[in-house]
């Protein structure tokens, strides 16, 4: 009841603001069901979402805000009619102000910031966290916008981007360890995150160099007073990426050197410095049929036998594949897959999108994690789910 009152207040404020400032507004209404694919039943969900977006764009200034109103029903045990939880959740997805100068764009507020050019696996993309518990057809559902300042300075075909994120938000992994306390970095100036990215192009090749100083978005387990603690560790990331198109191919590459706090590799509770790179290509088999194939390597540096954490692997090779078939503007089929060679674990995301009519879409698919229990994707089996969503845009 309290939630419903809050909902009404937000809607009232929304329409008041949008009429006072004659802002444009739009949004969508969606109904969704996320049936589980494995036990336990922690992520069996169904519900509805109403998203309201308002935006104002003038010559040199703009404002954008979108709010989600989620009525979410979760099944938290194997009993269908028991142990259910339902809640109305209201939260901003994004809300930011944009100021444009002749050669500079300034963006302040809660926003998505993505770096990198490769598909799905982006070593340089360490700013916007993931929600691995909710991978569906839409990026808004599985990435979490961050409060930040972004400044882009454009000159010629080049661009320098400065990003500042004062407060750290980690990935949502769904991981819960009984008795382990989670410790987020304290909100103080030493823990502010910042980075810079230079992008340009030459002879048809687009490229970027980037630097990011922040925290690892994934948690680490460290012992403290005889107990285990979940914490997030500092790292610096030096990145590079490129793309080049020729004929029906777009070649892409992205790599990063992660400089962690364990520079010499003797601390088993802090990740060692490591390198990760992705090399791949898009290939337009036909106009409607696109393939993407990538090779991924992760190499741990300063490897010290006897001083390594059990989750670290000296060398890990993976591959990813994306097959997309689209018949615009009616429907599209997409299959995304990531496979780790050593453990044989994999992640598959098939998505079917159908435009029922102008502005009404149906999404169907599944996010499937499989592999041995101690492998990266095998550990996340419980996050596997199917999804079906119908979305009406207005």
């Amino acid at each position: 009841m309290k939630g419903f009152k809050f909902f009404r207040v937000i809607v009232l404020l929304f329409f008041t603001f949008s009429s006072i400032f004659s802002m444009d507004f739009n949004g969508y209404l969606k109904f969704f069901a996320h049936p589980k694919l494995t036990s336990p039943f922690a992520f069996d969900r169904f519900g509805a979402r109403f998203q309201l977006t308002f935006k104002e764009k003038r010559e040199n200034i703009g404002f954008f805000a979108s709010f989600n109103f989620d009525l979410d029903e979760r099944n938290i045990s194997r009993f269908l009619y028991k142990d259910r939880s339902s809640a109305l959740k209201i939260y901003p997805v994004e809300a930011y102000l944009t100021i444009r100068f002749p050669n500079v764009d300034f963006k302040l507020g809660k926003q998505f910031i993505f770096w990198g050019r490769t598909d799905w696996i982006n070593p340089t993309d360490n700013i916007t966290p993931w929600d691995y518990t909710n991978i569906t057809a839409e990026i808004e559902d599985y990435r979490i916008a961050v409060n930040s300042v972004k400044i882009n300075w454009y000159f010629g075909i080049s661009n320098i981007e400065f990003v500042f994120v004062p407060y750290f938000i980690p990935n949502e992994t769904g991981m819960k360890i009984p008795g382990a306390e989670t410790s987020l970095p304290e909100q103080k100036p030493e823990n502010w995150q910042e980075g810079v990215r230079f992008s340009s192009g030459i002879a048809g090749i687009n490229f970027s160099f980037s630097y990011w100083r922040g925290f690892d978005l994934f948690p680490a387990m460290v012992p403290e007073k005889g107990m285990m603690k979940i914490e997030y560790q500092k790292q610096q990331v030096f990145g590079f990426d490129f793309d080049y198109a020729i004929g029906r191919f777009v070649f892409k590459g992205e790599g990063a050197y992660f400089l962690t706090e364990d520079r010499e590799g003797y601390n088993p509770f802090i990740k060692n410095p490591h390198l990760q790179y992705v090399l791949g290509t898009d290939y337009n088999l036909t106009e409607n049929f696109i393939l993407n194939f990538q090779f991924i390597e992760n190499r741990v540096l300063k490897w010290r036998e006897g001083f390594m954490s059990p989750v670290e692997e000296k060398l890990k090779n993976s591959t990813s594949l994306r097959i997309a078939y689209k018949r615009e503007p009616f429907y599209s089929l997409q299959l995304i897959m990531v496979y780790n060679f050593k453990d044989g674990d994999y992640f598959i995301l098939p998505i079917f999108t159908y435009e029922i009519r102008d502005g009404i879409k149906l999404y169907m698919g599944a996010s499937i994690f499989r592999g041995p229990e101690d492998s990266v994707f095998g550990r996340n089996k419980k996050l596997s789910k199917a999804f079906i969503e119908v979305k009406y845009f207005f």
Partner: protein
């Protein structure tokens, strides 16, 4: 003697009017001259119908000729709301690969996409990127097939054959036949043949308007006679040669 000279003089004047003396390339040069523009801004409403199902797309389009052989184009989707904000940028290069970028607001990032050739479908419609662009005269051998009657209008019928297999493969056409109104020097009807030599698509131009001295095709219908699809493209709020800023044709603008 004077009478004979007069007859010869009158005969010489009449011959060009009969049209038979224009070569195919001369006609196409006139078409490009009379319908060509340096830059253009406007809105397009596209209706795509396949087996009775129709989807509508509205876009804002900016285009400019950067050089004689190079154009830039940027499109922003306005309707329906689920694709609003989607942007597409095409930067043509006379030498080297064209650059194509797609901005999907849902992904919040610009993606470089492969050029699927000039024959790629424009917005998923029956129009290809080649169809909506300016014809590159050096890519085709044109032949004047004479003046013919087309819906009560005297038109030049001009056959275009690709100069080589590469152009044929790139556009997907083995032959195009144009019907050209000699008053406006604008294409009013066309037939497109696939690489097997079979008729593939038929273009009907429903409305041509003079904007700033340029004859502009405002309403076009492209029918795929091999499939069961038809695409209708209507232009509105067209402005021509207003001197568009080069900043529009950048990745920065695409994301705004």
């Amino acid at each position: 003697m004077r009478k004979i000279i007069n007859i010869i003089f009158i005969f010489l004047l009449i011959i060009p009017l009969s049209g038979e003396n224009f070569t195919g390339i001369q006609i196409m040069e006139k078409v490009v001259k009379k319908t060509g523009w340096k830059d253009m801004e406007g809105e397009i409403t596209m209706k795509i119908t396949v087996r009775g199902r129709t989807r509508t797309r509205k876009i804002k389009l900016f285009s400019r000729k950067r050089t004689e052989d190079e154009s830039d184009m940027v499109m922003k989707f306005l309707y329906p709301p689920d694709v609003e904000g989607t942007g597409f940028l095409l930067i043509e290069h006379a030498k080297g690969e064209d650059e194509r970028y797609l901005y999907l607001p849902a992904l919040r990032r610009i993606k470089r996409i492969a050029a699927s050739g000039k024959g790629g479908a424009f917005m998923g419609s029956d129009f290809s990127y080649y169809d909506i662009g300016k014809p590159k005269l050096k890519d085709w051998n044109y032949k004047n097939l004479g003046l013919v009657d087309f819906n009560g209008l005297k038109c030049y019928k001009v056959e275009a054959l690709p100069i080589n297999k590469k152009i044929e493969k790139d556009t997907g056409y083995s032959k195009i036949i144009h019907w050209i109104d000699p008053e406006k020097w604008s294409i009013v009807h066309a037939e497109y043949y696939d690489r097997m030599g079979k008729i593939w698509k038929i273009l009907e131009v429903k409305e041509i308007k003079n904007i700033n001295g340029v004859w502009f095709q405002m309403h076009l219908i492209m029918k795929n006679v091999q499939g069961e699809s038809v695409s209708e493209m209507k232009f509105e709020n067209i402005e021509i040669n207003k001197g568009l800023s080069p900043k529009l044709f950048t990745k920065r603008y695409l994301m705004q």
